[in-house]
């Protein structure tokens, strides 16, 4: 009596099944947590098997008891406190006005020097075009939480060090760490009037209040950030974070993208067209007066099909007019898989680029223009590799550019990958597959592809 | 170049539609096509059409809508609770009298609205009660007969409480895209929230 899509259980052994059923799709029965040994066995990494759900309520006491137990388990799980053992406690302070120097060091640079600083500063990663601090601390002006004595592994992928070796965190980084119980953020003393040791810790509620909505961090963007961080990805802000357009970095990106491979009808294309013309002198026949393929001598089906290809098609590698991606169809995060060795000071090219949409603000599909602009803000990544060369559908699925859309509906996130497929480039008639109708299996002998 | 072949003979359905007297309106053609489909593909019997007035403030020149009703050879829909009841009583679909069912003929591309669906349900003709008795089960044993009597009593009660669902209708949609391939898709539409079947 249960749903096929909901009922497959998750076992660590079967990767294929995990793709089919994402446990996070559905409200989980928190009683499962009771069986999780996470408190005593830290090496435990496998998830519990899901419980059976019922089709509809019935008046049995058994069902009422089970529901009550589920709610109690949920209540308990959500009551779990965020505590910091003295040994591991990392204390930070909230800096509402952005990065500031330590109390002992006065502001060094006058405000007028900021523009100059921004121009000369090459250390700032290109992917993070946000302004540099206006107070001469040397970190992003969007950072608002300072960790004076950083320790632990989290700062390998998060935060920016200033010249006093303090780590500054962006709002999403700080909130993520506080929420997972790894950071004890304090209210600034000037706000609450307390001193050092006795500063008031920020509650989860206070952290959401202060950090969501700050510097472009919407709740949807944070949900995507934290959802991927929980799975082990590293994320940094992308070029589309600020809604206002950053012309320079986009142009630079595009210049890099267009160079690598110029495909399409190159020299080979010209030659083949020349040969066609020689073989088929009567090809001048127009479609208004005769058959589309002309009345000439046709030596192969390929020639005929080529003639039939009268509908223009889109080639992703040809340069496109400059399109400026418009919010919300902009790349807001660069994402690195857990397996990618990521260095925060010199981030490698990202594994994924992602745009974040809220269903309540964007209730329609993107227009072709919006989607094209978004795709063209990402680099050209043509399909390559032995497998891609062999398998056409994999090539089509991979596309020439790709981007991920994270669609957030009131806290529920769905991820869609959009690839710029080049169907026109796949000349099916050139495939030397066994002719249909022969008894030999078409799968046993793989063609070498085009 | 081969000479133009003679156009193929129109299909029986096309002939039916073009010869029927009511065919001067496209809606009527849809109705006719679905009637035909119900009669010959799904083997319904006692088919008839009902014109119902659909009062709509937005469109004034809408012709009266045609509904179809008929008796399917097998039950098309059984409410989950009704099914459970039958299971407990040991009754099979075949034991029950066939039921007349209403069908809304529609075509792909037609515009509908909540308003229109509500209007159809509100103007749904009552099923004539003669339908319930017209085919009496002569060849069942006394035990089954008793069960059936009990079942029909329960069904009458359930109709009032809507515990086996409220009014329902079959929505038939003709595929007219790309010239149409004659496919008719059927959906059960219930008035109100009726829990889904689980099989």
């Amino acid at each position: 009596m249960a749903d096929a899509d909901e009922d497959t259980t998750r076992s660590p052994a079967t990767g294929a099944e995990q793709i089919e059923t994402d446990l996070s799709d559905e409200t989980q029965d928190f009683r499962l947590l009771n069986h999780l040994n996470f408190l005593t066995d830290t090496s435990n990494s496998s998830l519990p098997r899901r419980g059976e759900k019922d089709f509809e309520p019935n008046p049995t006491e058994f069902q009422a008891d089970v529901l009550s137990a589920s709610r109690q388990a949920m209540h308990n799980a959500l009551s779990y406190p965020r505590i910091h053992a003295p040994k591991n406690q990392v204390v930070a302070f909230y800096s509402p006005d952005g990065p500031i120097p330590p109390p002992a060091h006065p502001v060094r640079e006058p405000l007028e020097a900021v523009d100059e600083y921004r121009k000369t500063s090459n250390s700032e990663p290109k992917t993070n075009p946000s302004r540099v601090s206006e107070k001469g601390v040397g970190v992003s002006a969007e950072a608002c939480v300072c960790v004076p004595s950083p320790k632990g592994t989290y700062f390998k992928s998060m935060g920016q060090a200033d010249r006093w070796n303090r780590i500054w965190l962006l709002p999403e980084e700080a909130l993520y760490m506080l929420e997972r119980g790894s950071l004890d953020i304090r209210w600034p003393q000037e706000l609450t009037g307390s001193v050092d040791e006795l500063s008031i810790p920020m509650s989860l509620q206070a952290a959401y209040t202060c950090f969501i909505g700050r510097g472009g961090l919407t709740l949807e963007r944070f949900s995507v950030y934290t959802g991927l961080k929980r799975l082990g990805y590293a994320l940094i802000r992308g070029p589309g974070w600020d809604d206002q357009v950053d012309e320079a970095s986009n142009a630079q990106d595009r210049a890099l993208q267009l160079n690598p491979t110029q495909r399409g009808p190159g020299l080979g294309g010209i030659f083949s067209r020349l040969f066609e013309w020689i073989h088929d002198p009567l090809s001048t026949a127009s479609t208004t007066t005769g058959p589309v393929v002309g009345c000439g001598i046709h030596r192969s089906y390929a020639d005929v099909y080529r003639k039939l290809a009268i509908i223009p098609w889109y080639d992703p590698v040809t340069p496109q007019p400059n399109l400026e991606p418009s919010a919300p169809f902009r790349v807001v995060y660069h994402i690195y898989k857990p397996s990618t060795s990521y260095k925060k000071t010199a981030p490698p090219p990202p594994d994924f680029r992602i745009a974040v949409l809220s269903t309540r603000e964007q209730s329609t599909l993107p227009t072709l223009t919006q989607l094209s602009a978004l795709l063209h803000s990402t680099p050209l990544v043509p399909p390559h590799g032995e497998k891609m060369n062999r398998m056409m559908y994999m090539r089509l699925r991979h596309g020439y550019r790709n981007v991920i859309l994270a669609i957030v509906d009131q806290g529920v996130v769905s991820y869609l990958r959009v690839g710029d497929a080049a169907f026109g480039k796949e000349k099916l008639f050139e495939n030397v597959k066994p002719v249909a109708g022969t008894k030999r299996s078409g799968f046993s002998k793989k063609s070498k592809g085009s | 170049m081969a000479p133009n072949p003679a156009p193929p003979e129109p299909s029986a359905l096309t002939q039916l539609i073009s010869s029927a007297s009511a065919s001067n309106h496209p809606i009527a053609a849809t109705t006719l096509q679905i009637l035909h489909n119900l009669q010959y593909q799904h083997l319904w019997t006692s088919l008839q059409t009902h014109d119902i007035p659909i009062p709509l403030k937005s469109t004034t020149d809408t012709p009266p809508m045609s509904l179809i009703s008929g008796i399917p050879p097998h039950r098309v829909y059984t409410h989950p609770d009704e099914q459970l009841y039958m299971l407990e009583k040991g009754l099979r679909d075949d034991d029950l009298r066939p039921e007349r069912l209403f069908v809304i003929p529609t075509a792909q591309g037609q515009s509908w609205s909540v308003h229109r669906i509500a209007a159809v349900f509100d103007s749904l003709p009552e099923i004539p009660s003669s339908d319930h008795t017209e085919s009496s089960m002569a060849d069942v044993d006394a035990e089954t007969q008793a069960k059936l009597t009990e079942y029909y009593t329960k069904k009458e009660a359930a109709r009032a409480t809507r515990e086996w669902g409220g009014k329902r209708i079959l929505l038939a949609m003709v595929d007219k895209g790309m010239g149409g391939d004659g496919t008719v898709a059927y959906y059960v539409v219930h008035d109100g929230e009726v829990k889904p079947r689980q099989n």
Binding site: E6, A73, A85 | V76, A185, E193
Partner: protein
């Protein structure tokens, strides 16, 4: 669990969204008002997964509106409320810090007691097993306690895998730091000057409220491409019955959408439900009157 929070429950309005941070409020609203929301936060006890999530709970504007209209909740402008951190009374601040400190000490004591107890149990088990020449590993002792583990909220052994010997050496500081879930206290309960008007809701609200009034639990429907999922009971324990799509009374419904919804629903053993309110906003004095005029229709593939 059964301690009911005082009403009206404050719903945090933060950056255009509606959030709950109090576990008592979350449990109460779920149990008494069938409002589930969506958990979006990281659980500190198992932070590296997305299956079980924790506070805060995000409410749809529809959910927040329904609660406000029922008089159960109010909307609090959290940014304004937290400006109150600047004006905490010295006495309140000191008392709050003292409370935190004693809680931290309590947590510390609980943890070391627990570890001590666990070590003893493990040793005992080990001895027993040795005596019985059992070949099982002593780690089995941990298994027996698993069911009670979550209830003992202060038993936090962090990922560093401290051994029990460490505790005796790390008592230099005798208390745990605590990050509380909410800011009340130290902030006083939000005064009515911080309350905001009821949330504005999308056109689908009447259908939402209609289904809620009929006992359905509703959640966002993105996963199935609809407005809402409707559950016959708490979604903790029941599968959804309907994929819900709302239309305006005279809004055009493409029959293809009905077919697509009907097939999608049938494919996942759910019904497809569409509906809307007969009365428009102009015709009624308040949303509640529109809710009474909702008509809804369930659609399933006929299988013929």
């Amino acid at each position: 669990m059964d301690s009911d929070p005082p009403l009206p429950i404050p719903i945090s309005y933060i950056s255009n969204r509606y959030l709950l941070f109090s576990i008592d409020a979350v449990t109460y609203l779920r149990r008494e008002h069938h409002i589930c929301g969506v958990l979006i936060g990281t659980l500190p006890q198992i932070p590296q997964q997305n299956v079980f999530l924790g506070l805060p709970l995000e409410l749809m504007p529809e959910e927040a509106r329904l609660l406000v209209d029922k008089g159960v909740a109010c909307i609090v402008d959290e940014a304004k409320a937290h400006a109150g951190m600047r004006s905490l009374l010295e006495g309140d601040r000191a008392r709050y810090l003292r409370d935190l400190e004693s809680q931290g000490q309590h947590a510390m004591r609980l943890q070391s007691d627990r570890k001590e107890q666990k070590r003893e149990e493990a040793l005992k088990k080990l001895d027993e097993k040795k005596a019985a020449r059992a070949r099982n590993s002593p780690s089995a002792s941990a298994q027996t306690e698993s069911s009670a583990a979550i209830v003992d909220i202060f038993n936090s052994e962090r990922s560093n895998g401290n051994t029990s010997r460490d505790t005796s050496t790390s008592t230099a500081s005798s208390r745990m730091g605590i990050t509380p879930a909410t800011s009340y206290p130290p902030l006083p309960p939000p005064s009515s000057t911080l309350h905001l008007p009821p949330p504005s809701v999308p056109a689908s609200y009447p259908l939402f409220a209609h289904l809620h009034a009929r006992g359905y639990f509703l959640s966002p429907g993105l996963r199935f491409g609809c407005n809402y999922m409707a559950y016959p009971g708490d979604s903790l324990r029941f599968h959804a019955h309907f994929l819900v799509v709302s239309y305006d009374w005279d809004e055009e419904i493409d029959l293809m959408d009905v077919v697509a919804g009907g097939r999608l629903g049938t494919g996942v053993k759910k019904g497809f439900l569409l509906g809307g309110a007969e009365k428009s906003k102009q015709e009624v004095e308040n949303e509640a009157d529109r809710v009474d005029s909702v008509r809804a229709f369930s659609i399933e593939w006929a299988g013929m």
